[in-house]
C-alpha cells in the first residue's frame, strides 16, 4: 500500500494545508521564546546615542525567513534613540531588497530620522569575513563611500565611529560565526543574529556560551518580534500556515510509523 502511494496527492494536500489558514487565519496565540526576548531586551537597554551596526544581507531565497525579522528589528531600532550603520555583507541582493521591500515597510520610521546623522547605508561590500575584519578594525579604511557616493569622512555619523570599539551592538543576517569571530571575540561587541529557522538548533551553543546576545531564527521568531514591538506584519500573517504545515508533517511521521509497524506485524517489510 505504501509503495503504491503517489506523492503528488500529498503535494496537493500540502497546498491546501498551507493555503487554507492564509485565506482564513486561525489567530493562534504565539509564546515568546528566550532568544527573541533577549534581543528585544538588549535593544531596549541600549543607552541613548549608542551605535549599532545592522547587516541587512537578505537574499531573495531567504526573504520569507530574514525579511520580516529585518523589518521588525529595524522598526524597533528606529523607534529608539540609537544611531544605525547599515551594510550588506552576506549577499549583493541585500541593497535591492532593502530598497524595494524593507525601506517601504519602515518608511514611516525613517521619516523621523535624518540620513547621515541618525543612520547611514554603505550598501553591499564584497569580501564577507575578510571585509568584516577590515571594517571592525578601521571603518574609515575599509569603507570609502556610502551607498549614495558620499565619502565616509563627510558623513556626520561616522565622525566619531572609527572601529568596532565604538559599536554597542552588531545585528547581522545569515551566519553568526564570522561575526562572533570578527566582532565579539576580538572587541567584545555583543552580536545578535537573524538567521534561518533551521540554524536555530545549531546556534544554541553560542547562546548558551553568551557569544550571541539574541537570535531571531526564521519566520516564527520574526512573528514573535512583531508581537513584542506590537507591529504585526508579514510574519504574523503566515504564523497559522506554519502551525498547520508543521502539524501535518508531525502527523505524517506518526501515521507512517504506525502503518510500518502494522505491516511488520503482519509479516511484511
Amino acid at each position: 500500500m505504501v509503495k503504491e502511494f503517489d506523492p503528488r496527492w500529498m503535494y496537493l494536500l500540502l497546498f491546501i494545508v498551507v493555503g487554507a489558514p492564509l485565506v482564513r487565519p486561525l489567530g493562534l496565540p504565539l509564546p515568546i521564546t528566550a532568544p527573541v526576548l533577549a534581543l528585544y531586551d538588549k535593544i531596549e537597554s541600549l543607552p541613548p546615542g549608542s551605535i549599532v551596526l545592522f547587516e541587512y544581507g537578505v537574499g531573495a531565497a531567504s526573504w520569507p525567513e530574514h525579511g520580516p525579522s529585518n523589518i521588525a528589528v529595524l522598526k524597533h531600532l528606529l523607534s529608539k534613540d540609537v544611531k544605525i550603520i547599515l551594510i550588506a555583507l552576506y549577499t549583493a541582493e541585500g541593497p535591492t531588497l532593502f530598497a524595494t521591500k524593507i525601506k517601504p515597510a519602515i518608511a514611516s520610521y525613517l521619516e523621523k530620522k535624518t540620513y547621515g546623522v541618525d543612520y547611514v547605508d554603505f550598501g553591499y561590500v564584497t569580501g564577507y569575513e575578510t571585509a568584516m575584519a577590515a571594517i571592525a578594525e578601521d571603518m574609515h579604511k575599509a569603507l570609502t563611500k556610502d551607498v549614495y557616493g558620499t565619502p565616509i569622512d563627510q558623513i556626520p555619523l561616522m565622525k566619531n565611529v572609527k572601529s568596532a570599539r565604538d559599536l554597542a551592538l552588531v545585528i547581522a543576517t545569515g551566519y553568526c560565526e564570522p561575526y562572533i569571530r570578527q566582532f565579539y571575540t576580538p572587541y567584545g561587541v555583543p552580536v545578535a543574529i537573524m538567521t534561518w529557522g533551521m540554524n536555530a538548533p545549531g546556534y544554541m551553543p553560542y547562546i548558551s556560551a553568551g557569544q550571541l546576545c539574541g537570535m531571531v531564527a526564521g519566520i516564527r521568531a520574526a512573528a514573535e518580534y512583531e508581537v513584542l514591538i506590537k507591529s504585526p506584519g508579514e510574519a504574523s500573517a503566515s504564523s497559522d500556515a506554519l502551525s498547520l504545515s508543521h502539524l501535518f508533517v508531525a502527523i505524517l511521521i506518526v501515521v507512517g510509523n504506525i502503518q510500518y509497524y502494522l505491516t511488520r506485524r503482519r509479516g511484511g517489510r
Binding site: S62, V125, K141, V249
Partner: protein, 215 residues
C-alpha cells in the same frame, strides 16, 4: 618564466600571507598590522573581481551549447539564459549603478519570485519523506524521530496551544541535549578548520591549486 609556473610559489605565498594575517591578531607589530590591514582591503577588491567568474563560466558553458547543440530546445534555453544574463548586467550598469529602476524591476519580477520558490520545493519532498521514509527501525532512528517531532511541534505556534508541555519540552530539547550535540559538532568542525589552516600555513594544502588547471 617556467619558475613562475611552479606550484610551490603560490603555495609559499598563501602560507606566508596566512601566517601574517594569523600573527597580526596575537602580536602588536605596527608594520605587520599596517600590511595585514591593507591586505584585508585587497581581498575586498579581489572578491569583487571574483564575482565576474560566474558570468564568464556561464558564457562559456551556454555559449558552447548555443554553438554546438543539435536539440533546438536546449539551444533556445541556453540562448535565453545568455540573453537575460547580459541584459541584467547592462541594466545594472545604467546610472545610478545598481539602482536603476529597470534593474530593480527585473530583479523583483524574476529572482525575488524564483529563488524562494526553488528552495521551497524541498517542503514537498520533506513532507513526502516524512510519511514514506522516516521509520523508527532502531533506537537511533527512534531518538531522531522523537527529537524531530518535539522540535517540529515546538516550532509551530500550535504546539503550545495543543499542550503547554510541548513548549517546555521543546525548550528543554533546544537548551540541553541539542546544545550538547551541536557543541560537539561545532568543536569537531573547528578542529577540522584549524587543521586545514595549519596545512595552508605549512604549504601542504594544495586542493585550491587544482582549480587553476594548466601546468
Amino acid at each position: 618564466m617556467s619558475w613562475a609556473r611552479r606550484r610551490e610559489l603560490p603555495l609559499f605565498l598563501s602560507a606566508i600571507l596566512g601566517i601574517m594575517a594569523f600573527a597580526d591578531y596575537f602580536f602588536d607589530i605596527p608594520v605587520l598590522h599596517s600590511v595585514v590591514s591593507d591586505l584585508q582591503v585587497w581581498i575586498i577588491i579581489l572578491a569583487a573581481f571574483a564575482m565576474f567568474m560566474g558570468v564568464i563560466n556561464l558564457t562559456i558553458v551556454h555559449g558552447r551549447v548555443v554553438m554546438r547543440e543539435k536539440d533546438i530546445i536546449r539551444r533556445g534555453l541556453s540562448a535565453w539564459t545568455l540573453f537575460l544574463m547580459y541584459l541584467m548586467a547592462i541594466l545594472g550598469l545604467l546610472p545610478p549603478i545598481t539602482a536603476h529602476p529597470s534593474f530593480r524591476w527585473l530583479y523583483s519580477t524574476t529572482v525575488a519570485a524564483l529563488d524562494p520558490t526553488v528552495y521551497s520545493i524541498l517542503a514537498f519532498y520533506i513532507t513526502s519523506a516524512s510519511y514514506r521514509a522516516f521509520r523508527a527501525r532502531n533506537i537511533e532512528t527512534m531518538i531522531f524521530l522523537i527529537a524531530g517531532i518535539i522540535v517540529i511541534l515546538y516550532n509551530a505556534p500550535i504546539g503550545g496551544y495543543l499542550h503547554p508541555g510541548i513548549v517546555t519540552l521543546g525548550s528543554w530539547a533546544m537548551n540541553v541535549p541539542i546544545v550538547a550535540g551541536q557543541r560537539a559538532i561545532m568543536v569537531g568542525a573547528a578542529i577540522g578548520a584549524l587543521a586545514l589552516a595549519i596545512r595552508t600555513f605549512t604549504g601542504r594544502e594544495s586542493a585550491w591549486l587544482r582549480a587553476g588547471g594548466g601546468g
